[in-house]
Protein backbone atom coordinates (compact mmCIF):
# COMPACT_ATOMS: atom_id res chain seq x y z
CA UNK A 1 0.00 0.00 0.00
CA UNK A 2 1.37 3.36 -1.00
CA UNK A 3 1.07 6.15 1.55
CA UNK A 4 -1.88 8.46 1.48
CA UNK A 5 -0.78 11.85 0.14
CA UNK A 6 -2.48 14.44 2.34
CA UNK A 7 -1.05 17.32 0.29
CA UNK A 8 -2.88 16.12 -2.81
CA UNK A 9 -5.99 15.37 -0.71
CA UNK A 10 -6.27 18.89 0.77
CA UNK A 11 -4.68 20.64 -2.25
CA UNK A 12 -7.42 19.36 -4.56
CA UNK A 13 -10.06 21.48 -2.80
CA UNK A 14 -9.78 24.77 -4.79
CA UNK A 15 -10.00 23.04 -8.19
CA UNK A 16 -12.81 20.80 -7.01
CA UNK A 17 -14.76 23.79 -5.73
CA UNK A 18 -14.54 25.34 -9.21
CA UNK A 19 -16.03 22.05 -10.46
CA UNK A 20 -18.71 22.25 -7.80
CA UNK A 21 -19.75 25.67 -9.13
CA UNK A 22 -20.16 24.17 -12.62
CA UNK A 23 -22.18 21.26 -11.17
CA UNK A 24 -24.46 23.74 -9.39
CA UNK A 25 -24.86 25.80 -12.57
CA UNK A 26 -25.95 22.67 -14.45
CA UNK A 27 -28.33 21.83 -11.61
CA UNK A 28 -29.98 25.26 -11.50
CA UNK A 29 -30.31 25.54 -15.30
CA UNK A 30 -31.57 21.97 -15.59
CA UNK A 31 -34.02 22.47 -12.76
CA UNK A 32 -35.57 25.56 -14.36
CA UNK A 33 -36.14 23.53 -17.53
CA UNK A 34 -37.61 20.66 -15.49
CA UNK A 35 -40.01 22.95 -13.60
CA UNK A 36 -41.51 24.42 -16.77
CA UNK A 37 -41.48 21.27 -18.92
CA UNK A 38 -42.77 19.19 -16.00
CA UNK A 39 -45.87 21.36 -15.73
CA UNK A 40 -46.46 21.00 -19.48
CA UNK A 41 -46.11 17.20 -19.18
CA UNK A 42 -48.50 17.11 -16.21
CA UNK A 43 -51.17 19.11 -18.03
CA UNK A 44 -50.84 17.05 -21.23
CA UNK A 45 -51.13 13.83 -19.24
CA UNK A 46 -54.31 15.07 -17.55
CA UNK A 47 -55.93 15.98 -20.88
CA UNK A 48 -59.40 14.51 -21.37
CA UNK A 49 -58.56 13.52 -24.94
CA UNK A 50 -56.97 10.04 -25.10
CA UNK A 51 -55.15 11.23 -28.24
CA UNK A 52 -53.17 13.63 -26.07
CA UNK A 53 -52.97 11.89 -22.70
CA UNK A 54 -51.87 8.45 -23.94
CA UNK A 55 -48.94 9.63 -26.13
CA UNK A 56 -47.90 12.00 -23.31
CA UNK A 57 -47.94 9.10 -20.85
CA UNK A 58 -45.91 6.91 -23.23
CA UNK A 59 -43.27 9.61 -23.77
CA UNK A 60 -43.03 10.35 -20.03
CA UNK A 61 -42.69 6.67 -19.10
CA UNK A 62 -40.11 6.15 -21.85
CA UNK A 63 -37.92 9.04 -20.70
CA UNK A 64 -38.28 7.96 -17.08
CA UNK A 65 -37.26 4.39 -17.72
CA UNK A 66 -34.16 4.99 -19.85
CA UNK A 67 -30.75 5.99 -18.47
CA UNK A 68 -29.86 9.66 -18.13
CA UNK A 69 -26.36 8.80 -19.36
CA UNK A 70 -27.65 7.48 -22.70
CA UNK A 71 -29.98 10.47 -23.07
CA UNK A 72 -26.99 12.75 -22.53
CA UNK A 73 -24.96 10.83 -25.12
CA UNK A 74 -27.87 11.15 -27.52
CA UNK A 75 -28.05 14.94 -27.08
CA UNK A 76 -24.29 15.41 -27.02
CA UNK A 77 -23.55 13.44 -30.17
CA UNK A 78 -26.75 13.74 -32.18
CA UNK A 79 -27.63 17.45 -31.82
CA UNK A 80 -24.45 18.64 -33.61
CA UNK A 81 -25.08 16.23 -36.52
CA UNK A 82 -28.45 17.92 -37.17
CA UNK A 83 -26.83 21.36 -37.02
CA UNK A 84 -27.79 22.33 -33.46
CA UNK A 85 -24.87 23.17 -31.23
CA UNK A 86 -24.99 24.33 -27.64
CA UNK A 87 -22.23 24.62 -25.06
CA UNK A 88 -21.70 21.32 -23.24
CA UNK A 89 -23.06 22.90 -20.07
CA UNK A 90 -26.30 23.84 -21.79
CA UNK A 91 -26.57 20.41 -23.43
CA UNK A 92 -26.15 18.92 -19.95
CA UNK A 93 -28.86 21.21 -18.56
CA UNK A 94 -31.26 20.14 -21.32
CA UNK A 95 -30.54 16.46 -20.62
CA UNK A 96 -31.01 16.84 -16.87
CA UNK A 97 -34.03 19.09 -17.37
CA UNK A 98 -35.91 16.77 -19.74
CA UNK A 99 -35.11 13.70 -17.61
CA UNK A 100 -36.25 15.29 -14.37
CA UNK A 101 -39.29 16.94 -15.99
CA UNK A 102 -40.83 13.46 -16.11
CA UNK A 103 -40.39 13.07 -12.35
CA UNK A 104 -41.49 16.62 -11.64
CA UNK A 105 -44.64 16.14 -13.75
CA UNK A 106 -45.73 13.33 -11.41
CA UNK A 107 -45.24 15.67 -8.46
CA UNK A 108 -47.40 18.34 -10.09
CA UNK A 109 -49.96 15.70 -10.97
CA UNK A 110 -50.32 14.51 -7.38
CA UNK A 111 -50.42 18.15 -6.24
CA UNK A 112 -53.24 18.86 -8.70
CA UNK A 113 -55.07 15.67 -7.68
CA UNK A 114 -54.78 16.82 -4.06
CA UNK A 115 -56.91 19.90 -4.70
CA UNK A 116 -60.38 19.07 -3.31
CA UNK A 117 -63.07 18.33 -5.89
CA UNK A 118 -65.24 21.07 -4.35
CA UNK A 119 -62.77 23.65 -5.66
CA UNK A 120 -63.30 22.49 -9.24
CA UNK A 121 -67.04 22.49 -8.73
CA UNK A 122 -66.97 25.98 -7.22
CA UNK A 123 -64.95 27.30 -10.19
CA UNK A 124 -67.49 25.74 -12.49
CA UNK A 125 -70.42 27.16 -10.53
CA UNK A 126 -68.85 30.63 -10.85
CA UNK A 127 -68.60 30.02 -14.60
CA UNK A 128 -64.85 30.67 -14.62
CA UNK A 129 -63.16 29.98 -17.96
CA UNK A 130 -60.71 27.05 -17.97
CA UNK A 131 -57.64 29.29 -17.96
CA UNK A 132 -58.89 31.28 -14.97
CA UNK A 133 -59.77 28.04 -13.14
CA UNK A 134 -56.18 26.86 -13.52
CA UNK A 135 -54.36 30.12 -12.80
CA UNK A 136 -56.57 31.46 -9.99
CA UNK A 137 -57.95 28.34 -8.28
CA UNK A 138 -56.12 25.11 -8.96
CA UNK A 139 -52.41 25.94 -9.40
CA UNK A 140 -52.15 28.33 -6.40
CA UNK A 141 -53.32 25.41 -4.25
CA UNK A 142 -51.55 22.60 -6.10
CA UNK A 143 -48.08 24.18 -6.18
CA UNK A 144 -47.60 24.56 -2.41
CA UNK A 145 -48.63 20.92 -2.00
CA UNK A 146 -45.97 19.98 -4.53
CA UNK A 147 -43.20 22.09 -2.94
CA UNK A 148 -41.56 19.52 -0.61
CA UNK A 149 -41.22 16.87 -3.33
CA UNK A 150 -40.08 19.49 -5.87
CA UNK A 151 -37.28 20.53 -3.53
CA UNK A 152 -36.15 16.90 -3.21
CA UNK A 153 -35.65 16.66 -6.96
CA UNK A 154 -33.15 19.56 -6.95
CA UNK A 155 -31.00 17.44 -4.65
CA UNK A 156 -31.53 14.33 -6.75
CA UNK A 157 -30.50 16.27 -9.85
CA UNK A 158 -27.37 17.60 -8.16
CA UNK A 159 -26.43 14.03 -7.21
CA UNK A 160 -26.67 13.06 -10.88
CA UNK A 161 -24.18 15.71 -12.04
CA UNK A 162 -21.12 13.39 -11.82
CA UNK A 163 -22.59 11.65 -14.90
CA UNK A 164 -21.69 14.80 -16.84
CA UNK A 165 -18.07 13.60 -16.82
CA UNK A 166 -19.14 11.43 -19.77
CA UNK A 167 -19.93 14.47 -21.95
CA UNK A 168 -16.82 16.45 -20.86
CA UNK A 169 -18.54 18.98 -18.59
CA UNK A 170 -15.86 20.14 -16.15
CA UNK A 171 -17.70 19.32 -12.92
CA UNK A 172 -16.15 17.85 -9.78
CA UNK A 173 -15.62 14.27 -10.91
CA UNK A 174 -14.00 15.48 -14.16
CA UNK A 175 -11.70 17.73 -12.11
CA UNK A 176 -10.86 14.87 -9.72
CA UNK A 177 -9.91 12.61 -12.63
CA UNK A 178 -7.73 15.26 -14.24
CA UNK A 179 -5.92 15.84 -10.93
CA UNK A 180 -5.48 12.06 -10.82
CA UNK A 181 -3.96 11.96 -14.29
CA UNK A 182 -1.47 14.72 -13.38
CA UNK A 183 -0.38 13.37 -10.00
CA UNK A 184 -0.98 9.66 -10.64
CA UNK A 185 -2.94 9.71 -7.40
CA UNK A 186 -6.65 9.08 -8.01
CA UNK A 187 -7.82 8.00 -4.58
CA UNK A 188 -7.18 11.34 -2.87
CA UNK A 189 -9.04 13.73 -5.22
CA UNK A 190 -11.91 11.25 -5.72
CA UNK A 191 -12.36 10.84 -1.96
CA UNK A 192 -12.33 14.61 -1.49
CA UNK A 193 -14.83 15.02 -4.34
CA UNK A 194 -17.08 12.44 -2.65
CA UNK A 195 -16.91 14.35 0.63
CA UNK A 196 -17.75 17.63 -1.11
CA UNK A 197 -20.71 16.03 -2.94
CA UNK A 198 -22.02 14.61 0.32
CA UNK A 199 -21.63 17.88 2.24
CA UNK A 200 -23.30 19.87 -0.53
CA UNK A 201 -26.20 17.42 -0.76
CA UNK A 202 -26.69 17.53 3.02
CA UNK A 203 -26.62 21.34 3.04
CA UNK A 204 -29.13 21.37 0.17
CA UNK A 205 -31.50 19.05 2.02
CA UNK A 206 -31.20 21.26 5.10
CA UNK A 207 -32.23 24.26 3.00
CA UNK A 208 -35.02 22.21 1.43
CA UNK A 209 -36.48 21.52 4.87
CA UNK A 210 -36.45 25.23 5.75
CA UNK A 211 -37.99 26.07 2.38
CA UNK A 212 -40.66 23.43 2.93
CA UNK A 213 -41.60 24.88 6.31
CA UNK A 214 -41.75 28.38 4.88
CA UNK A 215 -43.67 27.79 1.64
CA UNK A 216 -45.07 24.26 1.94
CA UNK A 217 -48.50 25.14 3.32
CA UNK A 218 -51.56 26.06 1.35
CA UNK A 219 -52.37 29.58 2.56
CA UNK A 220 -55.88 30.85 3.04
CA UNK A 221 -56.58 33.62 0.53
Amino acid sequence: MSTWDWDVFWGSIPDLLAGLVVALQATVLGYLIALVLGLVFALLRRSKSLWISVPAAVVIEFIRSTPLLVQLFFLFYVLPTVGISFSTLFTAAIGLGVHYATYVSEVYRSGIDGVPAGQWEAARALNLPARRTWTSVILPQALPRAMPALANYVIAMFKDTPVLVAITVVEMLTVALSIGSETFLYAEPITMAGILYLVTALVMSWFARIFERRFGQVRAA
Binding site: V54, F62, S65, V70, K159, P162, Y186, I190, T191, Y197
Partner: protein
Protein backbone atom coordinates in the same frame (compact mmCIF):
# COMPACT_ATOMS: atom_id res chain seq x y z
CA UNK B 1 -24.52 -3.86 -38.79
CA UNK B 2 -22.19 -6.85 -39.02
CA UNK B 3 -22.59 -9.97 -36.85
CA UNK B 4 -19.43 -9.00 -34.94
CA UNK B 5 -21.02 -5.74 -33.87
CA UNK B 6 -24.23 -7.49 -32.80
CA UNK B 7 -21.98 -9.70 -30.69
CA UNK B 8 -20.84 -6.62 -28.69
CA UNK B 9 -24.45 -5.68 -28.05
CA UNK B 10 -25.52 -9.19 -26.97
CA UNK B 11 -22.55 -9.52 -24.62
CA UNK B 12 -23.29 -6.02 -23.31
CA UNK B 13 -26.92 -6.96 -22.73
CA UNK B 14 -25.83 -9.96 -20.67
CA UNK B 15 -23.58 -7.74 -18.52
CA UNK B 16 -26.38 -5.17 -18.05
CA UNK B 17 -28.83 -7.89 -16.97
CA UNK B 18 -26.23 -9.40 -14.62
CA UNK B 19 -25.57 -6.01 -13.06
CA UNK B 20 -29.29 -5.33 -12.63
CA UNK B 21 -30.26 -8.72 -11.23
CA UNK B 22 -27.23 -9.27 -8.96
CA UNK B 23 -27.37 -5.61 -7.93
CA UNK B 24 -31.06 -6.01 -7.04
CA UNK B 25 -30.45 -9.17 -4.99
CA UNK B 26 -27.51 -7.71 -3.07
CA UNK B 27 -29.36 -4.39 -2.75
CA UNK B 28 -32.31 -6.28 -1.22
CA UNK B 29 -29.98 -7.69 1.44
CA UNK B 30 -28.63 -4.20 2.25
CA UNK B 31 -32.17 -2.77 2.23
CA UNK B 32 -33.51 -5.30 4.73
CA UNK B 33 -30.42 -5.15 6.93
CA UNK B 34 -30.40 -1.33 7.10
CA UNK B 35 -34.19 -0.91 7.16
CA UNK B 36 -34.66 -3.35 10.04
CA UNK B 37 -31.57 -1.95 11.81
CA UNK B 38 -33.19 1.48 11.83
CA UNK B 39 -36.24 0.01 13.58
CA UNK B 40 -34.12 -1.87 16.13
CA UNK B 41 -34.20 -1.24 19.87
CA UNK B 42 -30.40 -1.02 19.94
CA UNK B 43 -29.02 2.47 19.58
CA UNK B 44 -25.84 1.36 17.78
CA UNK B 45 -27.75 -0.66 15.16
CA UNK B 46 -30.08 2.29 14.59
CA UNK B 47 -27.12 4.65 14.19
CA UNK B 48 -25.43 2.30 11.71
CA UNK B 49 -28.61 2.02 9.64
CA UNK B 50 -29.02 5.80 9.69
CA UNK B 51 -25.41 6.46 8.63
CA UNK B 52 -25.60 3.95 5.80
CA UNK B 53 -28.84 5.37 4.34
CA UNK B 54 -27.77 9.01 4.68
CA UNK B 55 -24.33 8.47 3.14
CA UNK B 56 -25.39 6.35 0.20
CA UNK B 57 -28.52 8.31 -0.60
CA UNK B 58 -26.47 11.51 -0.47
CA UNK B 59 -23.81 10.14 -2.82
CA UNK B 60 -24.16 9.45 -6.51
CA UNK B 61 -23.70 5.80 -7.53
CA UNK B 62 -21.01 6.91 -9.97
CA UNK B 63 -18.85 8.41 -7.20
CA UNK B 64 -19.21 5.19 -5.18
CA UNK B 65 -18.18 3.22 -8.26
CA UNK B 66 -15.08 5.36 -8.84
CA UNK B 67 -14.28 5.09 -5.18
CA UNK B 68 -14.44 1.29 -5.27
CA UNK B 69 -12.28 1.16 -8.37
CA UNK B 70 -9.62 3.78 -7.50
CA UNK B 71 -9.52 3.95 -3.71
CA UNK B 72 -9.98 0.36 -2.52
CA UNK B 73 -6.90 -0.89 -4.47
CA UNK B 74 -4.77 1.61 -2.50
CA UNK B 75 -5.57 -0.42 0.60
CA UNK B 76 -4.38 -3.60 -1.08
CA UNK B 77 -7.66 -5.04 -2.38
CA UNK B 78 -8.53 -5.27 -6.05
CA UNK B 79 -12.18 -5.90 -6.82
CA UNK B 80 -13.23 -7.68 -10.01
CA UNK B 81 -14.79 -4.97 -12.25
CA UNK B 82 -18.20 -6.66 -12.49
CA UNK B 83 -18.27 -7.13 -8.71
CA UNK B 84 -17.31 -3.47 -8.17
CA UNK B 85 -20.22 -2.49 -10.44
CA UNK B 86 -22.69 -4.74 -8.65
CA UNK B 87 -21.50 -3.55 -5.22
CA UNK B 88 -21.71 0.15 -6.13
CA UNK B 89 -25.23 -0.25 -7.54
CA UNK B 90 -26.36 -2.40 -4.59
CA UNK B 91 -25.01 0.04 -1.99
CA UNK B 92 -26.86 2.87 -3.73
CA UNK B 93 -30.19 1.13 -4.29
CA UNK B 94 -30.03 -0.56 -0.88
CA UNK B 95 -30.08 2.84 0.82
CA UNK B 96 -33.28 3.77 -0.99
CA UNK B 97 -34.72 0.30 -0.37
CA UNK B 98 -33.99 0.59 3.35
CA UNK B 99 -36.43 3.48 3.57
CA UNK B 100 -39.04 1.39 1.74
CA UNK B 101 -38.53 -1.49 4.20
CA UNK B 102 -38.72 0.86 7.16
CA UNK B 103 -41.89 2.54 5.89
CA UNK B 104 -43.64 -0.74 5.11
CA UNK B 105 -42.86 -2.26 8.52
CA UNK B 106 -43.92 0.90 10.33
CA UNK B 107 -47.22 0.88 8.43
CA UNK B 108 -48.31 -2.39 10.08
CA UNK B 109 -51.14 -1.42 12.47
CA UNK B 110 -50.10 -1.41 16.13
CA UNK B 111 -53.14 -3.52 17.02
CA UNK B 112 -51.74 -6.44 15.02
CA UNK B 113 -48.54 -6.38 17.04
CA UNK B 114 -50.58 -6.31 20.22
CA UNK B 115 -52.68 -9.22 18.98
CA UNK B 116 -49.50 -11.20 18.29
CA UNK B 117 -48.23 -10.39 21.77
CA UNK B 118 -51.59 -11.43 23.24
CA UNK B 119 -51.28 -14.78 21.42
CA UNK B 120 -47.92 -15.20 23.16
CA UNK B 121 -45.85 -15.06 19.94
CA UNK B 122 -42.11 -14.64 20.42
CA UNK B 123 -40.68 -11.46 18.79
CA UNK B 124 -39.20 -13.59 15.99
CA UNK B 125 -42.53 -15.38 15.36
CA UNK B 126 -44.27 -12.00 15.36
CA UNK B 127 -41.86 -10.65 12.73
CA UNK B 128 -41.98 -13.78 10.59
CA UNK B 129 -45.70 -14.57 10.74
CA UNK B 130 -47.42 -11.20 11.17
CA UNK B 131 -45.17 -8.32 10.15
CA UNK B 132 -43.12 -9.51 7.16
CA UNK B 133 -45.88 -11.23 5.13
CA UNK B 134 -47.86 -7.98 5.05
CA UNK B 135 -44.90 -5.60 4.88
CA UNK B 136 -43.32 -7.40 1.91
CA UNK B 137 -46.55 -7.07 -0.11
CA UNK B 138 -46.56 -3.35 0.66
CA UNK B 139 -42.91 -3.03 -0.43
CA UNK B 140 -43.27 -4.49 -3.93
CA UNK B 141 -44.61 -1.40 -5.80
CA UNK B 142 -41.80 0.79 -4.43
CA UNK B 143 -39.25 -1.92 -5.16
CA UNK B 144 -40.35 -2.07 -8.81
CA UNK B 145 -39.53 1.64 -9.10
CA UNK B 146 -36.17 0.98 -7.45
CA UNK B 147 -35.50 -1.83 -9.90
CA UNK B 148 -35.97 0.52 -12.86
CA UNK B 149 -33.69 3.08 -11.17
CA UNK B 150 -31.11 0.33 -10.78
CA UNK B 151 -31.40 -0.66 -14.45
CA UNK B 152 -30.83 2.96 -15.46
CA UNK B 153 -27.94 3.41 -13.05
CA UNK B 154 -26.26 0.27 -14.46
CA UNK B 155 -25.39 2.29 -17.59
CA UNK B 156 -22.91 4.25 -15.44
CA UNK B 157 -20.47 1.33 -15.44
CA UNK B 158 -19.71 2.08 -19.09
CA UNK B 159 -17.87 5.20 -17.87
CA UNK B 160 -15.31 2.96 -16.12
CA UNK B 161 -15.04 0.79 -19.26
CA UNK B 162 -17.14 -2.13 -18.08
CA UNK B 163 -18.52 -3.69 -21.25
CA UNK B 164 -22.25 -3.34 -20.61
CA UNK B 165 -24.98 -2.55 -23.15
CA UNK B 166 -24.13 1.18 -23.25
CA UNK B 167 -20.44 0.44 -23.69
CA UNK B 168 -21.22 -1.97 -26.53
CA UNK B 169 -23.29 0.72 -28.19
CA UNK B 170 -20.39 3.17 -27.95
CA UNK B 171 -18.12 0.69 -29.73
CA UNK B 172 -20.75 0.18 -32.43
CA UNK B 173 -21.19 3.92 -32.80
CA UNK B 174 -17.44 4.40 -33.16
CA UNK B 175 -17.26 1.84 -35.93
CA UNK B 176 -20.47 2.66 -37.85
CA UNK B 177 -20.64 6.44 -37.23
CA UNK B 178 -24.44 6.03 -37.14
CA UNK B 179 -24.86 8.08 -33.97
CA UNK B 180 -28.60 8.75 -33.99
CA UNK B 181 -29.48 5.19 -34.95
CA UNK B 182 -27.26 3.53 -32.35
CA UNK B 183 -28.14 5.76 -29.38
CA UNK B 184 -31.81 5.88 -30.40
CA UNK B 185 -31.87 2.09 -30.59
CA UNK B 186 -30.07 1.88 -27.26
CA UNK B 187 -32.75 4.06 -25.60
CA UNK B 188 -35.48 1.84 -27.03
CA UNK B 189 -33.62 -1.25 -25.79
CA UNK B 190 -33.48 0.12 -22.23
CA UNK B 191 -37.14 1.11 -22.52
CA UNK B 192 -38.09 -2.43 -23.53
CA UNK B 193 -36.04 -4.03 -20.73
CA UNK B 194 -37.65 -1.64 -18.24
CA UNK B 195 -41.10 -2.53 -19.58
CA UNK B 196 -40.38 -6.26 -19.16
CA UNK B 197 -39.20 -5.70 -15.57
CA UNK B 198 -42.28 -3.58 -14.87
CA UNK B 199 -44.65 -6.24 -16.20
CA UNK B 200 -42.89 -8.97 -14.18
CA UNK B 201 -42.98 -6.90 -10.98
CA UNK B 202 -46.64 -6.05 -11.60
CA UNK B 203 -47.36 -9.79 -11.89
CA UNK B 204 -45.47 -10.40 -8.63
CA UNK B 205 -47.43 -7.58 -6.99
CA UNK B 206 -50.75 -9.15 -8.00
CA UNK B 207 -49.71 -12.61 -6.84
CA UNK B 208 -48.46 -11.28 -3.52
CA UNK B 209 -51.62 -9.22 -2.95
CA UNK B 210 -53.78 -12.22 -3.86
CA UNK B 211 -51.96 -14.29 -1.23
CA UNK B 212 -53.30 -11.82 1.36
CA UNK B 213 -56.76 -11.87 -0.23
CA UNK B 214 -56.43 -8.42 -1.79
CA UNK B 215 -56.69 -7.24 -5.39
CA UNK B 216 -54.53 -4.64 -7.10
CA UNK B 217 -56.34 -1.92 -9.10
CA UNK B 218 -55.68 -2.12 -12.85
CA UNK B 219 -52.66 -0.19 -14.17
CA UNK B 220 -52.42 2.38 -16.94
CA UNK B 221 -52.41 -0.10 -19.82
CA UNK B 222 -55.42 -2.01 -18.49
CA UNK B 223 -57.29 1.27 -17.93
CA UNK B 224 -56.73 2.42 -21.51
CA UNK B 225 -58.16 -0.81 -22.88
CA UNK B 226 -61.11 -0.67 -20.51
CA UNK B 227 -61.95 2.91 -21.57
CA UNK B 228 -61.92 2.00 -25.24
CA UNK B 229 -64.06 -1.06 -24.61
CA UNK B 230 -66.70 0.99 -22.78
CA UNK B 231 -66.67 3.90 -25.25
Amino acid sequence: MSPGLWQYMIEGLVVTLQLTIFGALLGLVFAFAAGLARLSKHKILRAMGFLYTEIFRGMSALIVLFWLIFVIPRFGYQLAPLFAGVLALALNIGAYGAEVVRGAVRAIPQSQLEAATALNFTPWQRTRKVVLPQAIVAMIPAFSNNLIELLKASALVSIVYLSDLTFGAQLVRASTQNTAGVFGGLLVAYGVIALIFTVLMRFLERRAAASLGRTVPPGMIARIFRKEASA
